[in-house]
């Protein structure tokens, strides 16, 4: 069964703003899906519809077969959500916050405490466990939110900018943890971000959204194919470095062979693969403008 399915999902707000327009995609268990787009592109509205917080105006969506509009409680029971608008209680300690949410998720007293301690340790927050949240930094709050989302062993994680406010080391740790959750526990991760470099590190598939429309969807290779018809290879021969266009990496051995046969010494060969950032800009209007 697919973990998350969006079928022609659309949301128009009462004021007439079309936040999401006919988005269709699916996500399998164990996949880390990067939902990429600038602020206001419709990422958060999509996550809210997937959790039954907003009602779609057209189309629908399912999370492990449950319709969030009809059965939001069942969706919440198998989902963990981290968004910047879903905060925890400043007047309570980090540990008390986790124990409270554990109870609301049906995890009994002792088990809830044990799970809270375990997650605080994983998120490197053990020392701050007894401290009130008002004394937490943005990064600590973000890590605690992730701990909250994982309390009930969810089957799918919806993460909206999970590494915003984190220092590079913490961001890397969070990345590692998300990847491990997907690989080892088969959790499906729906990750919304505008930090493309970070997304390229952990996502297995991507969807690019702009002004509510899904521009492209696929693996990095598939998106590369959609954005660029050819790539390039950089070859260093003695003092000279040349850049040649190629259709695929299969062209490289032939080029190198030809150069060697013509008497040139080849010191280095490097294929220049477009990064996710380059692919993104090539596919979005912004990219087109930049190209012009």
């Amino acid at each position: 069964m697919e973990a998350v399915v969006l079928d022609n999902l659309s949301k128009t707000y009462p004021g007439g703003k079309r936040a999401v327009q006919s988005v269709s995609l699916s996500l399998a268990p164990g996949e880390v899906f990067g939902f990429l787009g600038p602020n206001g592109a419709g990422k958060t509205s999509t996550v809210k519809m997937l959790n039954g917080i907003l009602k779609p105006t057209e189309g629908g969506c399912r999370v492990f077969g449950y319709d969030p509009v009809k059965e939001p409680e069942k969706v919440h029971m198998i989902s963990g959500i981290v968004t910047e608008h879903a905060r925890m209680y400043d007047a309570m300690s980090g540990q008390d916050n986790l124990i409270f949410y554990a109870e609301v998720f049906g995890i009994s007293g002792e088990e809830g405490k044990r799970r809270a301690r375990e997650l605080l340790e994983q998120m490197e927050l053990t020392e701050a466990a007894e401290r009130k949240l008002s004394a937490y930094s943005t990064g600590m709050r973000q890590r605690l939110s992730l701990a909250r989302a994982l309390l009930h062993h969810p089957r799918v994680l919806f993460l909206d900018e999970p590494t915003s406010g984190l220092d590079p080391e913490s961001a890397q740790n969070v990345n590692r943890m998300i990847r491990s959750l997907a690989e080892k526990e088969g959790i499906a991760v729906f990750l919304c971000t505008h930090q493309l470099r970070y997304a390229q590190e952990i996502c297995t598939r991507y969807g690019l959204i702009e002004e509510g429309r899904l521009l492209a969807e696929g693996t990095l290779e598939e998106l590369r194919g959609k954005a660029f018809t050819e790539s390039s290879v950089r070859i260093r021969t003695g003092q000279e470095t040349m850049r040649l266009s190629i259709r695929s990496e299969k062209d490289i051995p032939g080029i190198v062979k030809q150069m060697v046969e013509s008497g040139k010494d080849v010191y280095a060969v490097e294929e220049e693969v477009p990064t996710l950032e380059e692919i993104y800009f090539a596919l979005t209007e912004g990219g087109k403008k930049q190209d012009e």
């Binding site: 917080i53 989902s79 968004t83 608008h85 879903a86 905060r87 925890m88 609301v104």
Partner: protein
């Protein structure tokens, strides 16, 4: 674990948070201290100090004969304790539930913690019920606590100053068991209905001002003798308020949804 336990966790958390909030707690204690301790003490003191005050005499004269006690002091105290104070007392549950409901609903919306709660495996209706119940329970605790405090202070003062005590009349049964819970629920509903539009706790509390008006009229009516409420009338008003609370709370629960709250 069933849904009731999950709801109980929200209620416990709300009660804990409300009682840990010093500013809110000060607001919660301020009105009961004035209405249940200060005002009654002033009345008792006045009656003790100037028993032949012409105003008190006029007030007592307006009473039906059946209500006249053996002395002027007793009659005046009986009037104040069983007719004026119960009406004053209704301000306590209104104030307490407005403060707690505003903090519980709008306060959570203001601090972006309500959205996190909406991602929990409970229906929006269950979250609504849990939060209404938490506000209601705290309001009732404040009301009952205020009554006990007033009774102890008043009886103590009477015993020390006059040498006798006067037990609260039957009107208090209607006030404590019917009117207080009903007006408390009405106040919670008014705040919840306003919580969709209100962006701050203070803004949402303004709605409760309209509830104070009828209570003030009741107090004025009791003082001037225009409207003296006996137990039957009190029970009647209580039943009407309870019915109104039930209708309002059902309507508020129907309208309570995520989009309304987070817009």
């Amino acid at each position: 674990m069933n849904d009731r336990k999950k709801m109980a966790a929200i209620i416990r958390k709300d009660l804990r948070m409300l009682s840990a909030n010093r500013r809110l707690f000060a607001a919660l204690l301020c009105v009961p201290v004035i209405l249940a301790v200060l005002l009654p003490s002033i009345f008792v003191g006045t009656i003790y100090a100037v028993p032949d005050d012409p105003d008190i005499y006029k007030l007592v004269e307006m009473l039906p004969e059946a209500m006249q006690a053996e002395s002027l002091e007793r009659t005046a105290l009986q009037l104040i304790m069983n007719y004026v104070f119960p009406a004053f007392f209704l301000m306590i549950p209104i104030m307490a539930s407005s403060v707690t409901a505003a903090s519980s609903f709008v306060g959570e919306k203001e601090k972006s913690t309500l959205e996190t709660l909406l991602y929990c495996p409970l229906s929006v209706r269950q979250i609504f019920q849990a939060k209404v119940l938490a506000s209601f329970l705290l309001s009732m605790a404040v009301s009952l606590g205020s009554f006990l405090l007033m009774a102890v202070v008043l009886e103590g003062e009477l015993f020390i100053l006059m040498g006798w005590i006067m037990l609260p009349g039957a009107n208090w049964i209607a006030v404590l068991l019917l009117l207080s819970p009903a007006v408390s629920l009405i106040a919670v509903t008014v705040i919840v209905r306003g919580s969709a539009k209100a962006q701050s706790v203070e803004e949402s509390q303004q709605g409760a001002v309209f509830l104070i008006m009828p209570v003030l009229l009741l107090v004025v009516g009791q003082f001037t003798g225009v409207l003296l409420l006996d137990i039957r009338i009190m029970l009647g008003i209580g039943l009407v308020c309870a019915l109104l609370a039930w209708v309002l709370i059902r309507k508020a629960a129907e309208k309570f949804n995520c989009e309304m709250l987070l817009m």
